[in-house]
């Protein structure tokens, strides 16, 4: 396992790098879509959507 800290002594508490989390399908899609943005290519970034269907007066 990789160490987050690299140096010339052992720190009191070792800190290991977390196992890499594989990219989600959603993340991969948004990254790929972003590269092609423009013209008929548009997408909705799910992270940024504000879902509010309540009627406002």
């Amino acid at each position: 396992m990789s160490k987050l800290l690299k140096g010339n002594f052992e720190p009191k508490k070792p800190v290991n790098a977390p196992a890499p989390t594989p990219e989600t399908l959603e993340g991969r899609f948004e990254r790929e879509a972003m590269k092609r943005l423009g013209g008929s290519i548009a997408y909705v970034s799910k992270k940024k959507v504000m879902w509010d269907l309540k009627k406002k007066d």
């Binding site: 987050l4 800290l5 690299k6 140096g7 009191k12 508490k13 800190v15 790098a17």
Partner: protein, 522 residues
Amino acid sequence: MTKVLFVNPLVREEDVPRHVPYGIALLAAIAMRDGHLVQVYDANAWRLGEGALREVLGADDWDVVALGGITTAYGSIKHIVRIAREVCPKTTIVLGGGVLTSLPREMMGWLPEVDVGVIGEAFKTFPEILDRLGAGDRAWPAVKGTISRGPGGKLAMSPARELLHDLDSLPFPAWELFPLEEVYFPNSQVLFSEEGMLATRRLDINASYGCSLICRFCYHLGIAGDMRYVEGKDGELNVEFDRPGAYTRVIRYHSPEYVVKLARHAYDRFKINFIGFLDENLMTMDQSSNRVWMREICRLWKENGLQPSYLRDGSERTESWTGIHWSGTSHATLCTPEILKEMRSAGCSHLVYGYESFSPQVLKRLGKGSTPKTNIRSFFWTLEAGIRPIPNQIIGFPSEDFDSIRDSMGAWERLGIVVKPFFATPYPGSEWFAVYRESIEEQHGGDLEKFVLELGDATKITAVISHNFNAVELLGLRELMLMKDRVRIDEYERVWRASRKIPAGHPSTLYRDPSALAVVGG
């Protein structure tokens, strides 16, 4: 003995991390050489967020948390020092690098968590800080090249630190303290040449410091003799960089022996196949050395077995090689066909040229010592030598006008250049910043920190310094340039002239020489 944690802040988050921070790698090597306890957390490489940062900061009792970087790392630095102060209340926080150097007083004001700022070169200042801390001494005003807080929080700037002249006395950078296998080697690719694309194990080397040119947009981090200490009207010491009529430089370079020994060390220890030279400009160094430096590096490259195998054997280019390919930055007027050929034969794959523009009036005012003619000449010389030229372009110069835009478009078409120009950006420390500071602040509602937080790649507009065009016009014109749409540019020129009430027969420009305008900061 002092226990130091270096933290490399995040930079250019829109791309994967590609460069071991060379300054921090050298400072870590110096600290270890001097017997200190050193750890490095490369937050830019790992990109793990606040949880990991807190864990790292809590991993030991650090005497010093040290960080630094380029100006665009400011946002990340602000975040890191806030967390560092929270997790390590008693630790001395040291900030250095280009980010602090261009605006030391402002930075210390914006970042109250920082105890000591290292202004300019840190090769002598930083080890002195560590030694003093080891001896329990915190009298920072006695350490040259620092800014610190005195009683009542008043900022104290000590006298300027002299530059290190014997560069070869520097140890090799502590590359081994960075996640090479985990992060940097997988991101070795540089899409500027075939060899750059095929690079699988790349490291960078900075072989020289400084640049003899006075490009108005450039900042040299205060480590190129470009920084002067001046007393303001209030009697307070401050730093000053290029401004109209006031330019200073010190040119320093490592010996070719040091450079090639370092490359050989990287080859033997880390099995690299590509080196990116970080030097501001290899050609200004070559010129300063009376044309012996580059040639000698190339000769020793070959003598030490670093020339890529197929170049040595005179055979067809292959997709893998023994030896090291390399790249760097060149200059339109200062390169020669002879040296370019030598460089190719030693393994040079591509050279970045800041051509910036193909307009005679823009280049003349830029201070680069290049002309459209030398731009074009160097372009062909470089191609002929077998090296790919990378032609950077900028739009939005103070004197940019419709003709300069058409000049650049014409050259792109003739030379087959495919480019999306940067926007002229007045980074702190540049002459543009000194000249246009008041306007920049105005454009950000008087909040300079807001401007600094916005700074990035110069692919978006952060402050307009063009006398002729506003942000909307610059964005539109750049788009039309990319579309090669001369008709709409001509059409817009007519609208523009009418709205600016420019009479027939007068050129389409409102440009006034900035040295005639008020200069702020000096």
